[in-house]
């Protein structure tokens, strides 16, 4: 790793965190001050949702902790080689996230996939909100005085 990429790796996490916190603050503040009527405001909740989505996805992806056998054993769940062999594509899918020890026990917490769906829907809502407020704003500005 060269010096530039090392510097970027060190600087990136705090930068992303700062953007997330700023967006969270802007989102909260904008709600009470009716700033959501401006199309640009919708970018802030979208950033917050994306951040939360990344956290949820990361929690799901790392539920096996690089060693699924050990993770299953630590939960008292049997590692079913026949099941894993039959459904070998399942753990590497991006969505829905699953990492099953056997047919009945999933290491991925149950809240992860519904959260990802909810966040995706809310992101669509953000996009719709931005478009709607932009259209309304344009109509208002086109209205003759």
């Amino acid at each position: 790793m060269n010096a530039v990429s090392a510097l970027a790796a060190i600087a990136l996490p705090p930068l992303l965190l700062a953007v997330f916190v700023l967006s969270l603050w802007k989102t909260a503040r904008g709600l009470s001050a009716r700033r959501w009527e401006r199309p640009g405001w919708w970018a802030f909740p979208a950033v917050v949702l994306t951040g939360l989505g990344c956290v949820a996805w990361f929690a799901g992806v790392f539920s096996g902790g690089l060693d699924t056998r050990e993770a299953c054993a630590s939960r008292g769940a049997g590692y079913d080689e026949a099941y894993r062999s039959e459904y070998w594509r399942e753990p590497s899918r991006w969505f829905p996230l699953h990492n099953k020890c056997n047919a009945g026990f999933d290491l991925v917490p149950a809240w992860v996939n519904p959260t990802l769906v909810a966040i995706a829907l809310l992101l669509v809502g953000c996009a719709a909100g931005a478009v709607t407020t932009a259209v309304i704003g344009r109509k208002k500005s086109e209205k003759p005085d």
Binding site: P13, L66, G76, A77, G78
Partner: protein, 804 residues
């Protein structure tokens, strides 16, 4: 220390210390049975019983009944009043302002007690608050009538309701109202059911009259009333139902109308318990909720027996719907049961389509049979016997606890015994996995505290204290529900019927081939040939590594770390009849090595080779030694109370022969071999050649020293830097993700290594260096042994090759 409890202790010792049979209680201000029993003995003396005994028995009760109720203004015996008042204080009620007189304060305290119990308080002002003989007995026991830690409001509501509804009935004993499901609550529930069924003399047992009565109580959605309350209460006692996910389970709440939510919960419970799923309170569901064996005559496909399974018995079992049989792998010296598997018996079972699950029992019928060292020895013996029978790697062996162990005994002896079992199996390379046979409570605690894979529940011992008042463990695999005698023509034998959950399918074969390393080498060669012939894109060496790791080490975390595997090649190789080989025997140490972990780590090093800076780490290290060290860090933080010094912890837990650990000896061998394989392939060897050099060519004789000099620069200072960097480095996104993912997400430890003070973390890192140096030293010391093992292996391999 409670001064009011201390008052009680000093007074009762001073007053009755000279009475015949009296046992003094400690004067420490802490409530316990010794204090309550001292008060009971004081009461017995006042009632004219001699000698006194530490038990509130029938004589004490009948003398009290003769004395009558004790209420406001009662002054026949001030010491008896004082015993009530001290008892109230010990239970947490303000019993009196001054001792000896049953005044308004004592009356109010008893009213509060009655209310907490769910009973009517008896009236306003100085009316009510009367201490009847039954209430007196409750004042002098250790039952809590307020919610305690771990209790729930719902269960406490049921406890109060049962007390309030049945306390005047003769057979009913007022139970605790602490919010905890226990043996007492279960018995109270059963007596309430028996009263409602009209049984003349309820006894709390699940006898024929109770069974017959419950067959008529088939309720469903839309029903309401008392029977729904009783059924729903039984559901709450068995709630939550484990869902098969990492969540806590599906709960239910107490109710009087059978609504859709209750129906849904019942369906989940029925599914979990392997009953017919109909959402109704049919007889089998009642039975399953109330007793550990449920309906002993329900269909079951599992069994276990001490008798040999001969061909005719195997045929009888198949014809009668049995698919799996539990058999003993050991018969201790002096036993007359002759219960061990017989030569050829396993083949007889397999050829008749039966599967088998192994049980290990060496006495195991009393507390003294359970110590750590006995567990360790039993595991060594079980490994040796199971290997002798050829049981395949990963087989679960059920170690028996064949008596009614109490919770104290479980904590003091059974859990240490199973820690010994786990260590003993680890010593032999973790070829076999431990399961537990015992009561529900034994199975639950042992599984939680020692990682027992599955529970074989002794459900038919329904009267065991470890079965009454405990739900079936989440990891139950077999539930033993009935013992009976089979008559098959002129042959008779005893058989236990076991309901099967399906999580342990049992073993349908033994001696699965390809154990030795030559089998693995041939396998890698065949896979490599397919990879070379594969028409798609990809480096054949990498395709081989990816194929072997794809099932167990192919999730999103690995994609993120070292990239995804080539799924088209997986399909291609599967189509050529290949499958994943999971393990083989190391020809030097005779340890079982995990092929999937080996190739996952090799794949990591291969695609993410060590950085040019010898003290830097990257994703390749995470895939190998680094990931194991991060997991070991999690284990240390969990045990930090016991091991405040990280160096001691690592020295005792990492890569130590005979110690169960997330970074065991096998793991270190696999990490070292993975790095050596990746290096060889990067230097131009094929993966097949590299594997052959390592295991046939003697490369493994110096694996640790070459790993140490290659990856750790051969010096302790660099190695310590590397350990520090893998734990704390913030300049590599994948390493950071691994730190957070393994320590916090997977391990549940909030304190990342970087957040720990240097003084705390440094000894842990030093421990890693110590162990690495120790293993290279051991390798040199044991070289002659390893060479002899290797020679033996090569000779056997040549012999196998000649036979083919």
């Amino acid at each position: 220390m409670d001064t009011k409890v201390l008052d009680a202790q000093t007074w009762v010792n001073a007053t009755y210390g000279g009475v015949s049979g009296y046992v003094r209680c400690p004067e420490d201000g802490r409530t316990g049975w010794s204090t309550m029993n001292a008060l009971v003995m004081g009461l017995q003396h006042e009632l004219g019983i001699s000698p006194v005994v530490a038990s509130f028995g029938p004589t004490t009760m009948s003398r009290l009944q003769a004395l009558g109720d004790i209420g406001f203004g009662w002054d026949k015996n001030t010491n008896i009043v004082r015993i009530i008042q001290h008892g109230l204080f010990c239970k947490g009620y303000w019993g009196a302002n001054g001792y000896g007189g049953y005044g308004a304060v004592t009356t109010e305290a008893v009213k509060n007690l009655l209310t907490d119990m769910g009973l009517p308080d008896g009236g306003t002002g100085t009316a009510g608050g009367v201490t009847t003989p039954k209430i007196f007995k409750c004042i002098l026991n250790m039952d809590a009538y307020t919610k305690v830690s771990g209790g729930t409001d719902d269960i406490r509501s049921i406890q109060r309701w049962l007390n309030g509804s049945y306390w005047t009935r003769d057979a009913y004993t007022i139970g605790p109202c602490d919010g905890i499901y226990s043996r007492d609550v279960q018995k109270s529930m059963m007596i309430a059911i028996q009263y409602e069924l009209g049984i003349a003399a309820p006894n709390g047992n699940f006898g024929p009259a109770t069974q017959a009565g419950l067959q008529t109580k088939n309720l469903g959605e839309g029903s309401s009333g008392l029977w729904v309350q009783l059924f729903s209460a039984a559901c709450v006692f068995n709630s939550p139902v484990p869902t098969g996910t990492s969540e806590t389970g599906t709960p239910t709440t107490w109710r009087s109308s059978y609504d859709s939510k209750l129906r849904e919960w019942v369906e989940i419970f029925q599914r979990f318990s392997k009953l017919d799923v109909n959402g109704r309170s049919d007889y089998r569901t009642w039975a399953q909720l109330l007793v550990s064996m449920g309906d002993p005559d329900r269909p079951a496909t599992g069994s276990d027996t001490r008798f040999e399974i001969t061909a005719s018995r195997a045929q009888w079992l198949r014809n009668n719907g049995y698919a799996v049989v539990g058999r003993y792998i050991y018969d201790p010296p002096g036993s007359t049961l002759d219960k061990e598997i017989k030569p050829g018996e396993l083949n007889t079972m397999f050829s008749n389509g039966l599967k088998v699950f192994p049980i290990y029992q060496d006495n195991a019928r009393q507390l003294s049979d359970f110590t750590y060292s006995q567990g360790y020895q039993h595991a060594l013996n079980a490994h040796s016997l199971a290997s002798g029978y050829g049981f395949n790697r990963g087989t679960v062996i059920y170690f028996a606890v064949d008596y009614d162990a109490t919770r104290d005994e479980i904590d003091a002896a059974i859990v240490p015994y199973f820690h010994g079992v786990a260590a003993g199996l680890a010593y032999n390379g973790r070829r076999y996995v431990h399961g537990v046979y015992g009561s529900r409570n034994v199975c639950t605690v042992v599984s939680r505290q020692t990682g027992a894979r599955y529970s074989f529940v002794s459900g038919m011992s329904w009267g065991f204290s470890g079965n009454l008042g405990f739900p079936i463990p989440a990891n139950w695999s077999f539930n033993q529900i009935k013992e009976f005698k089979v008559t098959n023509g002129s042959d008779t034998f005893d058989l236990d019927r076991d309901v099967v959950s399906g999580i342990d399918p049992g073993q349908s074969s033994v001696n699965q081939p390809s154990g030795p390393a030559d089998g693995f080498i041939d396998y890698v060669q065949r896979l490599y040939d397919h990879a070379v012939a594969y028409p798609g894109e990809g480096d054949p060496n990498q395709l081989v590594m990816e194929y072997i790791r794809h099932e167990a080490y192919g999730g999103g975390d690995w994609d993120f770390l070292i990239g995804s595997y080539n799924s088209e090649f997986v399909d291609y190789a599967d189509g050529k009849g290949m499958s994943v080989m999971t393990d083989f025997t190391d020809p030097y140490t005779a340890y079982e090595l995990g092929a999937e972990h080996l190739m996952a780590s090799a794949n990591g090093h291969y695609v993410s080779w060590m950085p040019s800076n010898p003290r830097s780490v990257n994703a390749g290290d995470v895939a190998g030694w680094g990931g194991d060290l991060l997991t070991l860090y999690v284990d240390w933080r969990r045990a930090s109370d016991q091991y405040p010094d990280g160096r001691t912890f690592v020295q005792q837990k990492m890569a130590k022969v005979g110690v169960a650990s997330s970074f065991g000896y096998n793991d270190l061998i696999e990490d070292a071999d993975a790095w050596l394989l990746a290096k060889a392939v990067r230097d131009g060897r094929t993966i097949a050649q590299a594997v052959r050099d390592l295991y046939n060519g003697g490369g493994g004789l110096t694996r640790f020293s070459r790993y140490w000099s290659g990856r750790f620069s051969g010096n302790a200072e660099d190695a310590k830097f590397l350990a520090h960097n893998i734990l704390t480095a913030a300049d590599d996104a994948k390493v950071i993700a691994a730190q957070v993912g393994l320590v916090t997400v997977r391990g549940g430890i909030k304190t990342l290594p970087a957040m720990l003070g240097y003084d705390d973390l440094e000894p842990f890192e030093q421990g890693f260096v110590d162990v690495m140096l120790a293993r290279t030293g051991t390798e040199r010391r044991l070289r002659a042994t390893y060479e002899a093992n290797h020679e033996k292996y090569l000779k056997a391999a040549r012999s196998r090759a000649a036979r083919e």
